[in-house]
């Protein structure tokens, strides 16, 4: 189907009509939008510049997500629309709120490179120049994510930053153990929280060093996640390519190098814990330190890391490099507010990009041999370092990244955007 040529008033009128419908919280797709109905005859507010397919579709996805969010609380047989409206209202996302968010989206330019001013399909003379028309429902997720990240970069600076909740102060337990954890960052953080909550102490004074190792792709995913939370901007595949080019794993997850560095310290015993899953690692650490084993969950949504690295790139430019970590932290805190949200999703595990799989195998095999031969106290099977064999693309699921980006827009708007 062709797109409208410049100055086609019927096209503009239809787009303005659809935009007004979306501003009011509507979710009708463009393909079902009546071309000659009452909706077209109304005199909608004139938006300038005329929104393109990416802007309009992102607003529609936001409305759909808002409706879904509110609808989740609506019981069967009740007045679903009424309850949904009340629930949206309670969240500051009533019709007016959604219109404000829609206006924010329309006023935001999609940052970076990508499709430019994508027109909507329209059955008149084709436009001979410019980006070809695309049905909004068929737009690549990448384009919608790009715009959503632009919107987030505008909204996040106004969101009040919530300080992370401190763990309850542990009893100064006489049986507490001194430890120092190293290795896979997210697993280390989860195990550390569990140990500190039991009253054990992480210290540099005569600690028991525990190096936690997991399969290389899991450690890389945790390293990537930690890096983007600190302002990193690299893609998952680039992180692998860089490591491969450097010929070694990043320092934090290079468990053999870490063990080598810590070996032989007086009154500082060293243990290596190797497990395929986080809870297995926690159990082994608890065993080593004679602590209580508290169950921990595998953490880290790859899509969140993907969203963060995109955001970091933009916030460095829009708000200065000094604010990148801060704004990333705000977004993480917002999306972490509702852990049930993450739990209800089947979060796909990141796998090694196929191009890096041979190198990952080699690194894991070399490390396994080193760990076996070096005489460390190893708990677990060094072969568990091997990457998962797969025939997957080794990418982050963009659909999930978009879902998170839309959720983040909805959560951010009532907190910061309405100011």
């Amino acid at each position: 189907m062709a797109s409208a040529s410049a100055g086609d008033t019927s096209y503009e009128h239809a787009v303005q009509g659809w935009a007004a419908h979306l501003r009011a919280g509507g979710t009708t797709p463009w393909s079902a939008w009546p071309r000659s109905s009452a909706a077209e005859r109304r005199d909608p507010p004139r938006l300038r510049p005329l929104p393109d397919a990416i802007h309009l579709e992102l607003v529609r996805r936001i409305n759909l997500a808002a409706e879904r969010d509110a609808g989740g609380l609506v019981g069967a047989g009740l007045d679903a629309r009424g309850l949904a409206a009340r629930e949206l209202d309670a969240r500051g996302l009533d019709g007016g709120g959604l219109a404000g968010l829609a206006d924010r989206v329309f006023a935001t330019a999609a940052p970076g490179r990508g499709l430019l001013d994508v027109p909507l399909p329209w059955p008149t003379a084709p436009r001979r120049f410019g980006t070809p028309a695309v049905d909004p429902s068929e737009l690549p997720d990448e384009e919608l994510i790009r715009l959503a990240v632009g919107v987030l970069a505008h909204l996040l600076p106004d969101v009040p930053r919530q300080m992370p909740q401190e763990l309850p102060s542990p009893w100064p337990a006489p049986w507490r153990r001194r430890f120092r954890l190293h290795g896979a960052p997210s697993t280390v953080a989860a195990v550390r929280r569990s140990l500190l909550a039991q009253g054990h102490v992480e210290t540099d004074w005569r600690p028991t060093h525990v190096v936690i190792a997991r399969p290389v792709e899991v450690m890389m995913a945790e390293h990537w996640s930690a890096a983007v939370r600190n302002g990193g901007i690299l893609k998952w595949s680039t992180t692998w390519r860089r490591a491969e080019a450097a010929g070694r794993l990043p320092a934090a997850i290079d468990v053999t190098a870490t063990a080598h560095r810590l070996q032989g310290r007086r009154r500082e015993p060293l243990h290596l814990v190797i497990a395929r899953d986080a809870d297995g690692a926690a159990a082994l650490v608890a065993h080593v330190l004679r602590a209580r084993h508290a169950e921990i969950l595998s953490s880290g949504d790859a899509a969140l890391s993907d969203l963060l690295r995109r955001l970091n790139r933009l916030t460095a430019l829009a708000h200065g490099p000094g604010r990148v970590r801060d704004l990333a932290g705000t977004l993480v805190a917002l999306l972490d507010e509702d852990p049930a949200d993450a739990a209800t999703h089947d979060v796909a595990m990141l796998v090694t990009p196929p191009a890096s799989l041979p190198w990952a195998r080699e690194v894991a095999a070399t490390a396994a041999v080193d760990l076996r031969c070096a005489g460390y106290a190893v708990h677990g099977d060094p072969d568990a370092l091997a990457p998962t064999e797969h025939r997957l693309p080794g990418n982050v699921d963009r659909e999930r990244t978009l879902e998170l980006a839309v959720a983040a827009c909805l959560r951010t708007w009532p907190l910061g955007g309405k100011r």
């Binding site: 005329l50 999609a110 990508g114 430019l116 001013d117 460095a316 829009a318």
Partner: protein, 400 residues
């Protein structure tokens, strides 16, 4: 006095670098004549463009925060003619254009300037520009991307974003009267070397003789040299940081050396691509003729010329590639030796400074003061005395 803003928004590879160089070099003299080119560094307007469009650019964007607003503020305050010029403005979306025009002030008389060259010359030039920016795509694949009607690749989105003359002007000039939209055409090959500058200068209200071009140019690579750089990118992309790439590959190898190698075949289009690009170029010329813009030069300058002999950089003579690669290796070896000499010289300077420091530390007075400070750690009386001394002296010193 009317505030005039001349906003030059592209296209790349149409002499924009040399125009910006003249404007930057002579900005003080131009200011005296009532023309503002507000820039405190050579790439100030490039940074403003990155900021306006929130474009990542190999880490340079980190220096661009607020650059557009700063530039716009200077332009708003200037009572005469102000010129803003960068070729990547061409890829701004309508939302970005609206923001840019708004921020230049309501009462300003805004003129959009676009310089254009025929598509048959632009396509090879853009591929080479890609290669100079670390891309590794082969020429054939690049051409396929450009011919993909859906523009699904980033390469195509960028290329058409900055080069599709009718669309760039649709986006930038939607709200501007056509009399204030100026299309400067790049003269065909064989024209006077100063003709393009005369066209720019005439539009800007600058004397083209008084402010003559310097020798700064953005030269193009030959075919084997392009192949060398593309392959070098494949090797370096994951290991060499951008700031080193810019200095050693783009500046040293490409701009200062390989682009000046004589005798290499120039890049052109294969026959079928030439036909396609010529047809497209002619359709643009027809469209532009209908729009009534102010054309500086001739619209026919944009009609592609006849096809030139084509040498494929994806499968060119390996001996020529090896020859260019050896030259590159020689250049890099010389540079490594030069830097090694600098390093040795700096080591000499450091050793000299260390010697001076040692002599200072071995002086009797210094040693005596060191002893007092050491004693103050264990002797309360000395510590008290030292404290009183420091208070009287009026500043704290950790060294004595």
């Amino acid at each position: 006095m009317t505030r005039r803003v001349l906003l030059h928004v592209g296209a790349p590879k149409t002499g924009t670098s040399f125009v910006q160089d003249i404007l930057f070099t002579h900005r003080e003299a131009l200011r005296d004549r009532g023309i503002l080119y507000a820039a405190d560094r050579h790439d100030a307007h490039f940074l403003a463009a990155l900021d306006l469009m929130e474009l990542p650019w190999g880490g340079l964007e980190r220096e661009a925060g607020g650059a557009w607003e700063r530039l716009a503020a200077q332009v708003r305050e200037w009572p005469g003619t102000a010129i803003i010029s960068h070729e990547i403005f061409g890829t701004a979306s309508r939302v970005q254009v609206a923001h840019a025009l708004d921020s230049l002030g309501d009462e300003a008389e805004i003129h959009i300037v676009f310089s254009a060259r025929d598509l048959v010359r632009q396509i090879p030039a853009e591929w080479q520009e890609n290669i100079k920016h670390r891309r590794t795509k082969e020429y054939g694949e690049f051409l396929d991307h450009l011919r993909d009607e859906q523009r699904s690749s980033e390469v195509a989105q960028w290329f058409w974003g900055v080069q599709e003359v009718p669309d760039v002007l649709d986006r930038w000039a939607e709200s501007i009267h056509r009399d204030r939209v100026h299309l400067i055409t790049v003269p065909p090959m064989g024209s006077s070397p100063t003709l393009l500058w005369e066209r720019f200068a005439g539009l800007f209200g600058i004397d083209p003789v008084e402010f003559a071009p310097t020798d700064r140019a953005n030269p193009s690579l030959g075919v084997p040299e392009s192949a060398v750089i593309r392959r070098l990118n494949e090797r370096l992309n994951d290991v060499l940081p951008n700031h080193h790439y810019r200095r050693f590959v783009r500046e040293l190898l490409v701009h200062r050396n390989l682009s000046r190698r004589p005798g290499s075949a120039r890049l052109s289009l294969p026959e079928d691509a030439h036909r396609w690009a010529s047809d497209l170029g002619r359709s643009w010329v027809s469209e532009l003729a209908l729009r009534g813009y102010d054309v500086v030069g001739e619209l026919d300058d944009l009609v592609p010329g006849t096809a030139e002999p084509f040498t494929d950089p994806d499968s060119c003579d390996e001996r020529l590639v090896a020859d260019a690669a050896i030259d590159a290796l020689a250049i890099m070896t010389n540079e490594a030796a030069r830097l090694r000499d600098v390093e040795i010289e700096l080591h000499g300077v450091i050793e000299d400074l260390m010697g001076q420091l040692d002599r200072f530390h071995s002086a009797r007075t210094y040693k005596a003061r060191e002893r007092v400070v050491a004693m103050s750690r264990t002797n309360l009386l000395v510590r008290g005395g030292l404290s009183v001394y420091r208070r009287l002296r009026g500043k704290n010193s950790r060294s004595t």
